[in-house]
């Protein structure tokens, strides 16, 4: 567990995606992986309310060394995960990000080419490309949510690939878990910091 990154004892991760991209599911899988990594307190929740396919959605994951008693919404995340880089601007994805925090974006660009300016670190990973490469495609659409778990592991060190693998195998059938993990592993390897 990378507790040194846990200022004030808790890490708050906000996911930005579009309805149907699986931000909520991967936010939950991250919580499960983090529990396996030794975080005693983990929670994950969708942004409360209705969801529509294609519309901007957010989800959150909280990780802490002890039981989490804060259930209110995240205002100042430590990490922002962006599944669709158009949301960087349209959904103001970096809003409230803590100084020195991480912005982890699904993009083929290099971090510095995203044009993001602020007191934070940027990581990019071509999760879409990784999903295509391992044929993680559902209804013709590359699934990018679980691959991004690899990018989070690489950038933050909160969880390892082993824990991601185990959490995925609890969430999916063996065949699907394998494919999701292969995509996460590939994304991990390709993450640019």
């Amino acid at each position: 567990m990378s507790t040194e990154t846990l200022k004030d004892g808790m890490c708050e991760i906000r996911w930005h995606g579009r309805g149907g991209q699986g931000a909520i599911s991967s936010a939950k899988i991250l919580a499960a992986a983090a529990y396996l990594a030794g975080f005693k307190g983990v929670t994950s929740a969708p942004n409360f309310g209705a969801e529509r396919r294609g519309a901007p959605v957010t989800a959150l994951t909280r990780l802490a060394a002890e039981e989490i008693r804060i259930y209110s919404q995240v205002e100042t995340p430590d990490v922002v995960v962006v599944l669709d880089d158009t949301l960087l601007r349209t959904a103001n994805a970096t809003a409230g990000l803590k100084p020195g925090g991480w912005v982890i974006v699904n993009s083929c660009k290099n971090p510095k080419d995203l044009g993001l300016k602020g007191d934070f670190q940027v990581a990019t990973a071509d999760a879409t490309g990784a999903a295509v490469d391992v044929d993680l495609i559902v209804s013709g659409v590359p699934m990018i949510n679980t691959p991004m778990l690899g990018a989070i592991a690489k950038a933050t060190g909160f969880v390892s690939l082993d824990e991601i693998k185990e959490a995925l195998s609890d969430a999916f059938s063996p065949k699907a878990a394998h494919k999701n993990f292969e995509a996460a592993k590939l994304t991990y390897q390709r993450t640019k910091l």
């Binding site: 939950k28 899988i29 919580a31 499960a32 992986a33 529990y35 396996l36 005693k40 307190g41 983990v42 929670t43 994950s44 929740a45 969708p46 409360f48 309310g49 209705a50 989490i68 008693r69 804060i70 259930y71 209110s72 919404q73 205002e75 185990e166 959490a167 609890d170 969430a171």
Partner: protein, 405 residues
């Protein structure tokens, strides 16, 4: 999502409830979907479909019918479960009263959601508070583990005192948030919860009427037996509720011995041993209050949480004891008796009236329709009450937290 490590699952409140229902050997589930309750019964229908739960899942066209099916099935001797939220609960209102009056040991989850109009799918506790006078036991849960454990306890309580139990928990905040939950083993549930013995046995060779039209005064039935009038039945119902704390506390204690954790019975406290100021609420808000208390303790303020677990029957005696040494109780209601004040606040004042214990009670309305409540809002409110108390001019009127008007 069921990552398992040391039997811990990382699951939502709705899944924690459904897992408990499965463990309790429920025989009939009838429900109609409504956000944020839906995933409880979706999970149950999946268990039934997969054959891992030996129950009949009855799909119905409304909440009124859902509880109607549960009433019928409970009457003929089945262990039954349903769940609903907000307008769904309101729509089954007639049956809510019926289930209680017929003294059926039904367990229902109320996944707390704001009442329309205007439409909101988000959380407050107006729905279950609106049903407080229907004659059910109402238990409010603070986290997903307590939901899981309380559903199991609820069947034991309901079947002991013959009163239905409403297990209330905050929509989205708990229903849709995953957190670690230790699922109780089947062996332990079987040891805790005996096989259901129906208290109403229908026997074709000895036909009888159930819940017939009952006249005002006691009278003899066809066989010459003197039967209670309506008022006598209501007296017995009230007596059952007033006596139910013994069963509620016993169930929680026995569960604790078996499983290794319990939830305080009727009321519970956090850092309240020497507290002069108590912050009181029911449900998940108590967890955010505990964070507020930690922060205020850092500043040297003697403050604690007073958690209301059981709202009906109202724990009058337990609350008098809990607030005996307090100078101030700030009550945070997530609902409102419109035209008066928060129901928990009003009931606490009523409990204190003849007790000789008289801390200042200051009511706050908070979190209606999903308004986010942060611990800093709770600290601000608590400090406002404390400042007024120290100025010798304590505030008595209900105030609203974070209302932007």
């Amino acid at each position: 999502m069921g990552t398992k490590k040391h039997h811990i699952s990382i699951i939502t409140g709705n899944d924690a409830a459904a897992e408990a229902v499965k463990l309790c050997g429920v025989q009939v589930v009838a429900a109609y979907p409504i956000t944020p309750q839906s995933s409880v019964v979706e999970a149950l229908s999946k268990y039934v479909e997969q054959g891992i739960m030996n129950a009949e899942f009855v799909t119905v066209e409304s909440e009124h019918s859902a509880l109607g099916v549960c009433i019928a099935a409970s009457t003929v001797g089945a262990r039954v479960f349903t769940a609903t939220s907000a307008n769904g609960l309101a729509y089954m209102c007639e049956q809510v009263h019926w289930a209680a009056g017929a003294r059926l040991p039904i367990v229902m989850c109320c996944v707390n959601r704001a009442m329309a109009a205007p439409w909101s799918v988000l959380n407050d506790q107006q729905d279950s508070m609106t049903m407080r006078d229907a004659g059910w036991i109402q238990i409010f849960c603070r986290n997903n583990q307590e939901i899981h454990d309380t559903v199991i306890q609820a069947f034991k309580i309901a079947e002991t005192v013959h009163v239905p139990v409403m297990v209330c928990y905050d929509g989205y905040i708990l229903s849709h948030t995953v957190m670690p939950v230790e699922l109780v083993s089947q062996e332990k549930v079987d040891a805790f919860l005996p096989k259901y013995v129906p208290h109403t046995i229908l026997d074709p060779s000895h036909p009888r009427n159930l819940n017939p039209v009952t006249l005002a005064d006691p009278r003899k039935d066809g066989s010459g037996t003197l039967c209670h009038g309506y008022m006598e039945l209501r007296y017995l119902h009230q007596e059952a509720l007033l006596n139910s704390p013994a069963a509620i506390v016993a169930a929680d204690k026995e569960f604790g011995k078996l499983v290794g954790r319990n939830w305080g019975g009727m009321v519970w406290g956090y850092r309240n041993e020497d507290a002069e100021i108590l912050l009181m609420a029911a449900g998940s808000l108590t967890m955010e209050l505990s964070v507020a208390v930690d922060a205020m303790r850092e500043e040297g303020i003697k403050v604690g949480v007073l958690g209301l677990r059981v709202y009906r029957p109202f724990p009058n005696k337990e609350l008098v004891e809990a607030v005996r040494k307090a100078k101030l109780v700030a009550v945070f209601d997530k609902s409102l008796s419109y035209g008066n004040e928060g129901p928990i606040c009003a009931d606490l004042k009523s409990a204190l009236y003849t007790s000789g214990v008289s801390p200042v009670v200051h009511g706050y309305i908070t979190g209606l329709g999903g308004r986010d409540v942060k611990y800093r809002h709770l600290i601000e409110a608590a400090k406002k009450s404390i400042a007024a108390l120290n100025n010798g001019n304590p505030v008595k009127e209900t105030e609203w937290v974070n209302v932007q008007i």
